[in-house]
């Protein structure tokens, strides 16, 4: 009898004895099998969950964060008041010029100027 035959004869003997196992032993065997199976599933599912999280990061969270950042920058930019033009220099010139301010707004002068320039 070689090794293979010997192993098969043991397996056969074990199978034959299965029907004769007491219920208590069968119950403990079932518990051990369930525990082994749940450990095996847990070991499988962990990497899967980790993979899903990475996928979620890459496909949703990163673009979402970029969108929020972009909107925030846009919002801040819109909140910035448009720079007030610096009129100090031109106003100083206008107010100290030979021609008074009234001359620029006097419609009568405008007509006077138009007619006399057209001559």
């Amino acid at each position: 009898m070689n090794e293979q035959d010997f192993a098969e004869s043991i397996a056969r003997k074990l199978d034959e004895g299965l029907d004769g196992l007491p219920p208590n032993t069968l119950y403990r065997l079932r518990l051990a099998r369930d525990a082994a199976l749940s450990r095996a599933h847990l070991g499988e599912s962990e990497p899967r969950l980790a993979g899903s999280a990475r996928l979620l990061n890459r496909r949703i969270l990163v673009p979402l964060f970029a969108l929020i950042l972009g909107l925030s920058i846009l919002f801040l930019w819109q909140q910035q008041p448009s720079p007030q033009p610096d009129y100090a220099e031109i106003d100083a010139q206008v107010l100290s010029d030979e021609l008074p301010v009234t001359a620029y707004l006097d419609t009568g002068f405008e007509v006077w100027l138009y007619h006399h320039t057209a001559d």
Partner: protein, 144 residues
């Protein structure tokens, strides 16, 4: 979160538009002397325009005595004009500056001639204008 927090953060501080600018008492003695014609108007002038007047005051020492006199005599009138009127004057002043010295001189001469007209003659000329409106300095003191 960052986005949601932003409005509160931004509105918590005063925007430059709301910034009231320095009070009259906070001006230097020299600035008060230059801007003296505006002393009564100062509380009604908003922040950006207060800063603008302080900027104008910085140009004052570089002016001739005649220019300084003109500036001070026109300050109050300028401050009481509407932003639209000020914008119109600036626009026309820029156009005048682009003209040749001869043309500018001619316009100055025409103004002196116009000033010599009677009020009735001026009124007739104003009525002949397509817009038919004499200049009415505004009462608002809004920003430029």
């Amino acid at each position: 979160m960052l986005f949601l927090c932003l409005p509160a953060g931004v509105h918590a501080g005063k925007s430059p538009k709301e910034e009231p600018g320095p009070d009259w008492a906070q001006l230097t003695t020299e600035e008060q002397h230059i801007l003296a014609p505006l002393a009564d108007e100062w509380p009604k002038i908003d922040g950006p325009r207060r800063h603008k007047w302080i900027g104008i005051a910085r140009h004052y020492p570089k002016m001739t005595p005649l220019q300084q006199e003109r500036l001070q005599s026109r300050m109050k009138q300028w401050a009481n004009m509407t932003p639209e009127q000020r914008a119109q004057v600036r626009d026309r002043y820029k156009k005048l500056k682009e003209m040749s010295p001869e043309k500018r001189e001619a316009i100055h001469r025409k103004w002196k001639e116009y000033e010599g007209l009677t009020e009735e003659e001026k009124k007739n000329l104003r009525q002949a204008h397509p817009a038919r409106s004499a200049p009415q300095p505004g009462k608002t003191l809004t920003r430029d």
